[in-house]
């Protein structure tokens, strides 16, 4: 089994618990091993950069250093914000030796050293690129036929540019959805922001963004919205009722992590992928 240095991030231990258990269950099923980093710390999400940039990079670097110590090649983050932080920090460590020196000076206190040699990837990339869509298709026990899935990329998985796909119209999520037998729907706001931490600091703005996103997904006849980030998932799922109150709508569309959908297609028991514990029941709106 290929091993990956797995960085769950704080959300996956609390609000995103279902993401974590489904991610591990799916990885297990597909023959890849996610080895959780020991004693990892919070990456700071979007809250550290408003205070001190160097400290923000240092916090992320501690996790990268811990990963480098394991000798594994890939640093996997399931949360888009953690992924974006780790990716950009890793990049800067490589191209800016002054930054690396300063950070390593701080890391000495925990007997760590970072070089920037990890390959930082989002969890979804491991399934699409390493396991491969063909392999996944083969292992699908219950293709999700007729299920119209809105792939919600959100912002930080594609932006800023990470030397990958087209930032305006990426297609990798759709391909994965097709591979598990479901029908990916095409809708304009798939990479539009969910509001992120604005849900706390400027609720009005965030609710407006969630509202527009829900409206587009629902108008495009989605049965379920699939996410790749716990922040996006919480904003779009947990606050749907607030959106309804604020804008006089009556959205009740289920929002699930892509790993949960994969788990269902691969035939993993609901308990192992956190289905049923979802706030809004999927059963209400699946076609089958």
């Amino acid at each position: 089994m290929k091993q990956y240095a797995y960085y769950p991030g704080c959300s996956l231990e609390s609000l995103g618990k279902n993401y974590n258990i489904s991610a591990l269950a799916v990885s297990d099923e597909l023959g890849v091993e996610m080895k959780e980093l020991e004693d990892w710390n919070c990456c700071g999400a979007t809250a550290y950069f408003p205070v001190d940039e160097l400290l923000a990079y240092t916090l992320v670097s501690r996790n990268l250093a811990i990963a480098e110590k394991t000798g594994l090649q890939d640093f996997i983050a399931p949360c888009s914000a953690c992924y974006k932080n780790a990716y950009t920090t890793n990049k800067y460590l490589k191209i800016d030796p002054d930054l690396a020196e300063h950070i390593n000076y701080a890391l000495e206190e925990d007997h760590l050293h970072v070089e920037g040699k990890m390959k930082v990837r989002h969890l979804i990339e491991v399934f699409i690129e390493d396991v491969g869509l063909e392999e996944i298709e083969k292992k699908v026990a219950h293709p999700l036929k007729g299920l119209r899935v809105a792939p919600y990329y959100g912002c930080q998985i594609v932006r800023p540019r990470k030397d990958k796909e087209d930032v305006e119209n990426p297609q990798f999520f759709e391909k994965l959805i097709s591979a598990i037998g479901a029908e990916p729907i095409d809708y304009a706001y798939k990479t539009r922001c969910c509001g992120g931490s604005l849900i706390i600091t400027n609720r009005k703005a965030a609710l407006d963004m969630v509202y527009k996103l829900l409206q587009d997904a629902v108008n495009s006849n989605a049965n379920v919205i699939a996410t790749t980030c716990p922040m996006c998932n919480v904003n779009v799922e947990v606050y749907q009722s607030q959106v309804n109150r604020e804008f006089g709508t009556n959205f009740s569309i289920p929002v699930m992590y892509f790993t949960q959908l994969m788990g269902m297609a691969l035939g993993i028991e609901p308990k192992r992928i956190g289905v049923g514990a979802s706030m809004l029941s999927l059963a209400q709106s699946t076609a089958n």
Binding site: D166, E168, Y189, N219
Partner: protein, 668 residues
């Protein structure tokens, strides 16, 4: 040293004298370099002036100078001035050396003491070198009076007509079935709103009928050998499958042809054409072309309708591509531009949202001979838009795509606005960052559009979407943009969006440039000899560029460049002979081992390899004297007249002042 060397140190006003102590340098040269042959050293305010030059000439005559060293600005500027001055005093011009103590000294240093010492070293180098100079005569090569013009757009047409009207023969090569270029696709031209075809076709007809022009359409250049005055160009005439001797251009073949394909070139994908076709009714020449890859006969062996119905039997399915070689003295490249691919900007919706059009598509919409008969309608072919949004700067002025401005899109966008007003009465919104209307009549044209009630929104469009948020937006295309003049994000519903896509170099510009021995800039436009003072010549003698191939420009500027290139060519032809700089590399045959390393190093493709004798030879007419092969030859078999090993090593010795140390070491 039996040479008698004169050293002249220029003040260049305060440019040199402000940093270098020119009087001290001049005096030093006269004293310390006397043992190296310096018999007189002077300094003067402006050596390049007539008085300065006369100073040199006087000394040559009175002091019997055999060599001259001028320490002044860069040779790029005044090498020719001083060489001519020497020539005027009957001293071979190549016995004069100009060393730069301005660009390489006074302009780059602030430490006056150090700069003065450096000037001395530079002059010392020049003096040591010039002793090894030889009297050279420029090469004279005959100029073949024929000219090759590549590209049949407006720039190429202008160039060809000027040369042909002057009585000299021109070969015009065009890769499409007809000449006319992009201008033939347009409806109207700014700012006069002349019908494009009406002003273009008379010139096209002139080219087609001109006794001095051999028109080769549906053809491409495949090889260029030779050098200025003597190019041997191989042209592939692609098979038209039409016998031009028999064809009358009656048009029955394309009428009867049962197969239609999308016309991606002339109709910009908006309309169709037949498999055997002429691209547009006024095509020159009138002969159609058969598109073999799409032809039923070539694909399946059936049909042949065109052959059956042709009254003169001009269809020839057996026709083959033909290679011909022509001799020409000069070449003008006027190969034009390609359109920026707007699909690279997915947020503008082209391809996804039906009623988003490119500028070329809109030209075809508006053109009376186009697929909609000149009616401005949506993709359904019948609905007339009530509101149109025109987006400026698509793919231009953008680090993510092309950083340059495409020069014509503001005027083109204004022109579209006018046409939409005129033909549909729709509301028109132009979304711009700046309004670039510099030339004659252009600002007035903008004024006219303001008076017509065009809505100008200053903001670069962020997205074009069909996701409605309010009822007024349902079923419309929404242009989302910040109206920067009022500081608000606006969503403006329209029926049609026109993207003013930018101009780009032809997709194969680099390969084509290599054929002719010229280079492209980073943006792939051809590089001119000097961007301000010599925009139509290239660094390769005998090859000129004109029109958009050199960079985005409007029709008047393309015409001007075509005429300028023609004038340069005519000037060369008139001289019957041109003289080339004798500073060239030569290969010592006996030392050459035939390794051919130099062949590929040469940036001007000036080195030939003789298979029979297994040695390389430098073509002196193509060689620009860059010295790359001299450095690259592992056997040291190549040396340059004007930069021989002795000359360069002597100059280095002089720069390091080893000549002085040596002299001082000699006991008195």
């Amino acid at each position: 040293m039996t040479e008698r060397i004169g050293v002249y140190v220029c003040h260049c006003g305060t440019n040199i004298a402000g940093v270098v102590n020119v009087a001290e340098v001049s005096q030093w040269s006269g004293e310390k370099l006397a043992d190296n042959g310096v018999v007189i050293a002077r300094d003067y305010k402006f050596m390049c002036s007539s008085l300065g030059q006369e100073l040199i000439q006087k000394d040559i005559k009175e002091q019997g100078l055999t060599r001259v060293v001028v320490a002044a600005c860069s040779p790029h500027l005044h090498e020719r001035t001083f060489r001519n001055a020497c020539k005027g005093a009957d001293l071979n011009p190549y016995l004069c050396e100009l060393v730069s103590i301005r660009e390489q000294d006074s302009w780059v240093h602030t430490d006056k003491v150090a700069a003065t010492e450096k000037a001395k070293a530079i002059i010392s180098g020049g003096v040591m070198r010039v002793a090894h100079h030889e009297a050279l005569e420029p090469l004279r090569v005959p100029i073949h009076p024929d000219t090759l013009v590549v590209g049949g757009g407006i720039a190429g047409i202008q160039a060809a007509l000027e040369i042909a009207d002057a009585g000299f023969h021109v070969y015009m090569v065009e890769r499409e079935p007809s000449i006319g270029g992009h201008m033939a696709q347009f409806d109207k031209t700014f700012p006069t709103l002349d019908c494009s075809a009406c002003i273009l076709t008379p010139k096209m007809v002139d080219v087609g009928n001109h006794p001095n022009i051999t028109l080769l359409t549906w053809s491409e250049v495949t090889k260029v050998d030779g050098y200025v005055g003597n190019f041997a160009v191989t042209i592939k005439k692609k098979a038209r499958y039409i016998n031009e001797e028999l064809c009358t251009g009656c048009g029955i073949c394309w009428e009867k042809c049962p197969k239609k394909v999308v016309d991606d070139v002339f109709e910009a994908g908006l309309g169709n054409r037949k498999v055997v076709y002429t691209p547009f009714p006024q095509a020159v020449p009138k002969y159609p072309v058969l598109d073999a890859p799409n032809c039923t006969y070539f694909l399946k062996g059936t049909c042949k309708a065109c052959e059956k119905f042709c009254p003169t039997g001009a269809i020839d399915f057996e026709q083959k591509d033909q290679d011909i070689t022509v001799q020409v003295g000069n070449i003008i490249l006027a190969t034009g531009w390609d359109l920026f691919d707007v699909r690279r900007i997915p947020q503008y919706g082209y391809g996804k949202l039906a009623n988003v059009f490119t500028n070329l598509e809109f030209e075809r919409l508006g053109n009376a001979a186009g697929p909609t008969g000149g009616n401005i309608v949506l993709r359904d072919g019948k609905t007339v838009p009530k509101a149109v949004g025109i987006v400026h700067c698509v793919g231009s002025r953008d680090q993510n795509y092309n950083p340059y401005c495409s020069a014509i899109c503001c005027m083109q966008s204004l022109k579209f606005a006018h046409l939409v007003h005129e033909r549909t009465g729709a509301e028109v919104y132009n979304f711009y960052i700046d309004m670039r209307t510099p030339s004659k009549g252009y600002e007035e044209f903008y004024q006219r559009l303001l008076e017509e009630g065009t809505h100008f929104v200053r903001g670069k469009v962020a997205e074009v979407t069909n996701i409605a948020r309010v009822p007024e937006e349902e079923g419309k295309l929404i242009v989302q943009v910040e109206d920067t003049l009022i500081g608000k994000q606006r969503r403006i519903p329209v029926d049609m969006v026109i993207l003013s896509a930018g101009l780009q170099a032809r997709h194969d510009a680099k390969e084509v440039g290599k054929l002719f021995g010229i280079s492209c800039s980073a943006d792939a436009w051809y590089i001119e000899r000097h961007p301000k003072l010599d925009p139509v010549a290239t660094m390769t003698e005998g090859v000129f560029i004109a029109g958009c191939a050199q960079g985005p420009k409007d029709i008047p500027a393309s015409v001007v460049q075509g005429a300028a290139a023609a004038a340069r060519v005519l000037g060369k032809i008139q001289q019957k002979e041109i003289s080339l700089e004798p500073v060239r590399a030569t290969i010592n045959e006996e030392q050459c081992s035939g390794c051919r390393i130099c062949n590929d190093l040469c940036p001007f493709s000036a080195i030939l390899f003789h298979e029979d004798t297994m040695v390389s030879e430098v073509n002196p007419a193509l060689c620009q004297g860059c010295g790359t092969c001299v450095a690259g030859c592992p056997a040291g078999a190549i040396s340059g007249t004007g930069f021989s090993n002795e000359q360069v090593l002597a100059q280095i010795e002089g720069l390091l002042m080893l000549n002085l140390k040596r002299l001082e070491a000699v006991p008195a």
